[in-house]
Amino acid sequence: MTFDLVLSGSDLLLLAPEIFLTVWLCVVLAIDFSIKNLDHENIAYLSVGGVIATLLNLLWFDYLGVTGTLFHDMFVLDRLAIFFKIFVLLSTVLVILSSIDYVKSFRFFRGEYYFLVMMSALGMMFMASAHDLLSVFVTLEFSTFGFYVLVAYLRDDVKSNEAGLKFFILGVFAAGLLAYGVSLVYGETGTLVFSEMAHTPGSYGLAIGFLMIFAALGFKIGAVPFHSWIPDTYHGAPTPVTAFLSIAPKGAAMAILIRMFYVALAAFKPTWVLLFVVASILSMTYGNIVAIAQKNIKRLLAYSGIAQIGNVLIGLAAGTKRGSDAILFYLLTYLFANLGAFAVVIGVGNLIKSDEIEDYNGLNRRSPFLAAAMLIFLLSLAGVPPLAGFIGKLYIFVAAIDQELYTLLAVGLINIIISMYYYLVVVKKMYINEPVDPSPIRVSIPIKTVIYVGLAGTLILGIYPRPFIEWVVAATLMFSNVTDMVAAALPHGSGG
């Protein structure tokens, strides 16, 4: 039992984006501490600059095709990891930009807010690279710690405190399940690395262990049996944090789910497909039906997010390479539409200090730009052509048809109709109802930028998706043999 850790400069190059971001966020924190009376807006733009530089670094890695593993396979940098890192950083940039006005209303700790956002983003970048159950546990907790604090950030607001407490208690409970699940899987397989587990025989210990790990990750993405924290936390948290929480951790946890089920558990596919079929049907139906009754726009988007995750899980239920492509593309469309919708909510909320749907009455009279943007984002979330959401849903349904999952397809199509209803109720309020207070709503430049990026993404992904589809197909190239692995395991392999 000896350990040797040999690191060379070229190995550490794989960690360059993370190292750069770590140094940058320490510098940002130091500047915030040391320069008195510094306008926190400068801190925000400094943070955005650092995150964009990291993003460019990753795009360059993607272009060069840099890949490799580090630390005894605990950290892996492949195209899939690069995709999810870009995904997380893109949402971080948009969230920081849309936070700027909101943070002005804080009385204390304005600079630390950006530090915590970047720290969580760093944790999620490591999540995208986790290739080992220990690194899954450590990185998951790393990113969640930042979120615990961010959700409870409004110290004098009882709603924010309550949301933070609920999120914390359920979060650590999920961590306990995850740790115990990891220990059981380790006992059954004798290893923590995903790729070394691929050939273990099935057993009850393995099944219970992976069910616990699935529960903890299901908690992160908010799939239905594990969704109970989502509405309350989304409602009480500061709105930019809600926006961040609704997209980035879901993407990063989905990276772990794909890697775990496609690499470590490929041989047991017939068993776990059922798990995802059930979770997907429950998430879509529950999310959409409960969303109808909501009076608060943040809660509406929370339940719609649960339903959207149900759609994403269809891709995992298909369990093929095309399924994983569809997940990546769907998450990309969800990123632009969802962050755009939250940017509108933040823009309106900053001015009228309310998130009730009633207060969106006659938004078109008050700000035609915000109303039109919200219309496009909601239609994209509902899946109306020619917007991005339509291509995303089409792609994911095609993956389901490939595997002859017709029940799932039927439930998915019915749910599109249900979701159309509550999205259009908001649209009706914005365009047809009369405003109580007709004063115009002014939108600041950072929020406008976020909305423009969201609009551009939603339209480009809908009208010209080809380069993006090529990108996601390339990102999951390593799964092209996943069906063969199942076929090879089927004659003698029983379920886990």
């Binding site: 039992m1 350990f3 159950l133 220990l134 546990f137 450590v138 907790e141 710690f145 615990y148 604090v149 409870a152 110290r155 004098d156 009882v158 709603k159 405190n161 309550e162 949301a163 933070g164 407490l165 609920k166 914390f168 208690i169 650590v172 409970f173 961590a175 306990g176 399940l177 740790a179 115990y180 990891v182 220990s183 059981l184 380790y186 006992g187 004798g190 290893t191 923590l192 509405p231 309350d232 409602h235 009480g236 409960v290 009754a293 909501q294 809660r299």
Partner: protein
Amino acid sequence: MIPLSAYVALSAILFMTGLLGVLIRRNFIVVLMSVEIMLNAANINLVAFSHYLDSMAGQLAALFIIAIAAGEAAVGLAIIIVVFRGQLATNVDQINLLKW
């Protein structure tokens, strides 16, 4: 020589104790303690398996879990203090502002 099954049984009992504690007890601090018990159940499992499988990875994982549990307690107690200051509440039932 204590058999492996004894360790696994101990950790399963501890895990169940923690699980029931989270589900039944109403006080935040007790819930936090129960979660720590769950994490320590996992640690016992990891160290026992590590010894019997002659592989170092389990002990390493246990060290990381201990460190993270400490961090959790720090963040959790901070949040509990903030809630207590705002609403003078120490029980889960008293926190019921947000619901649909």
